[in-house]
Symmetry: C2
Subunit: 379 residues, 2 copies
């Protein structure tokens, strides 16, 4: 277990300059000494999630990326559209380390018992700055993985698994009878299908390809609607009427998807209503936007009465809202089921420099369903 710990190690940083360029590069930073209640993790696997791209590229046009530097120390540069520059004023000239989550082995600990107990353990953490070779974090923020779980298997313990579990918990807290989910063939979407299948929760999945319909049905999905089918809104209305689902989670954000879901929820509710109400049904319909695969404006037709809500949904405030005990319960479930319910698949495993090569960026920045990269910072 005795590892050689270097004095300095690599970290991926994102820097926005005043002229509106964003620069991603690898920087040698001192390997931190853990404080009393901290551990030092040798990061061995860390995924590139859509939620990481926001910090990496800011609001830059991801088609404008160019890469300079050497293959070992590439520098990726992109341009932020003029009108978006004021929105990132607070970031200018501050290099920010990237990477929301990852897993690795604890190689050093502070003096506390809790910290020392973790030495040698494989742990997952959502500490930020995970695109680093070494990362010091609080011992109590570590999720200890079961014996036999590799860092690669545990790299995605937080963002997707807790978001999927958070959708189900939000549904229960707001007293909805079921869920609708867009971009449902994603890693996260597949987790949600398995949770809902195992927990008996009505779920309507929306996908964009026939092959994804089959993929989700194979893992136990009951309702899968293909948004490219001519009769999509009829399919969706039918599934919503059958499940009574009135809470949607939308990863797309832009365009008419959220509005379309609200419209079909209202139609489904009206089927059951008696008579006509001038303000629409008396069923409250809610869609949470938790991603921004489409960054264009959200278009709402508002043809669903007055009892509707739309809003942003973010994991961190959700976890704060449910409290530490409940959150810990969800985290334990993730560790217990990381090889089944919460298994992630990756299309490619890359080193830190490879993550900044233009061929890599071209793939993961597109955020296509099924394309997901894993970084091994020590590769």
């Amino acid at each position: 277990m005795a590892q050689e710990i270097p004095e300095k190690a690599l970290q991926m940083q994102s820097l926005i300059r005043k002229d509106g360029t964003v620069e991603l590069s690898l920087v040698e930073v001192p390997v931190p000494a853990p404080a009393d209640d901290e551990v030092l993790i040798r990061v061995e696997a860390t995924p590139i999630n859509p939620s990481d791209l926001g910090l990496m590229f800011g609001p830059a046009d991801r088609n404008s990326v160019s890469v300079s530097g050497s293959p070992e120390r590439p520098v990726a540069t992109a341009r932020i559209p003029e009108e978006m520059i004021p929105g990132v004023a607070a970031r200018v000239d501050q290099p920010l380390p990237a990477g929301n989550e990852g897993a690795g082995v604890v190689v050093k600990a502070g003096s506390n018992d809790e910290a020392r107990a973790l030495v040698g353990k494989t742990v997952a953490v959502a500490g930020g700055a995970m695109y680093s070779q070494y990362r010091a974090v609080k011992a109590r923020d570590c999720l200890v993985l079961h014996e036999g779980t590799t860092p690669a298997e545990g790299a995605s313990c937080f963002v997707n698994p807790l978001t999927a579990l958070g959708m189900v918990e939000t549904m229960k807290m707001e007293n909805h009878a079921g869920l609708v989910h867009t971009a449902a063939a994603s890693n996260l979407g597949q987790m949600l299908v398995k949770i809902c299948r195992d927990d008996g929760i009505p779920l309507v999945n929306i996908v964009r390809r026939q092959s994804h319909v089959e993929l989700l049905k194979d893992i136990g999905a009951t309702h899968v609607c293909n948004s490219t089918d001519d009769d999509f809104t009829d399919q969706l209305t039918g599934a919503l009427a059958e499940t009574g689902a009135t809470l949607g989670f939308d990863a797309i954000g832009g365009g008419k998807t959220a509005s379309q879901i609200l419209t079909c929820m209202e139609r489904a509710a009206s089927r059951k209503a008696e008579g006509f109400s001038r303000y629409g049904s008396d069923v409250y319909k809610h869609v949470c936007i938790y991603g921004g695969l489409d960054r264009s404006p959200t278009i709402l037709t508002r043809n669903y009465g007055m009892l509707w809500g739309l809003g942003g949904w973010l994991l961190t405030p959700f976890l704060q809202k449910i409290g530490r005990d409940k959150a810990e319960q969800l985290r334990r479930r993730v560790a217990d089921e990381i090889k089944t319910t919460f298994a992630s698949s990756y299309t490619r495993e890359v080193s830190l420099p490879e993550a900044l090569h233009s061929d890599s960026i071209a793939v993961y920045a597109r955020q296509a369903t099924g394309e997901k990269y894993l970084i091994d910072p020590h590769k």
Copy 2:
């Protein structure tokens, strides 16, 4: 007090036909006999609110209105756009009586003491079907007006006053520090200015004309932003930063107004924030759409982080949520301040037939700020 009560009386009804035409006409209906717990009101004043137009015209194009029939029995007809017809399927071939609220004198009562105590009193009621010469309602739904308040003065006791008070109560329930209001020079907006002035609640008003800025300042508004000014978003951001207002009420609905408010709220919050958060500020921002002056789609740019919400807001579910005691308290305040805080002004007083003349419809269907009609069904 002994009034001659006829057997039949006029009522305005809206009928949607299968072919997508909506027809507004005056129908002779039997004057109802009040049940034990009911009173019969001789309706003497009833306003045409924007919220009435929804039932009157449905989703018809209000520029397509044509009027036939005689001056005493006009019939106004309008066409519903093809794509909107499925949304009103539940209304087809069912004549619906129009008119949300009004005031009049109780001319007859059921056998209950509560009902009998109201005979001869001037009362206001939000019973629906108020564009009628006579209307039977439950005694307990009547708001008894003070001696010296005329039906014309009390005609608008519910929709505008309770919505304005509901905005303030919603702000308190959701722990916001202040309010933003669009179309703020409306009758309702003026009420809100007076409530906030008297109760010490920070309020940011948004208007579309310089004359409206002065109108609101004259009645005690502190912050009034003119959306036609070049520096509107700077004005708004400044007022939001000063007041800390994070709850908006938008009467417009369509276009970018709601999104613009959220953007400026976020900018105001960022001014106070330390450092940069990749998901935006940690301030929750909420806009309630309570009207639809612009029926075009709502456009959301989503450049305000993830802590935001948008939704429909409707008076009736709000009153149900706060409970009967609290609602009664608000109603009493309206009766007490109907000649001051909650005074409405009308540009014209019309008879039931005149309300269906094309020159009238052309004015009130436009919903211009400051243009409001009052119907006297016995004129």
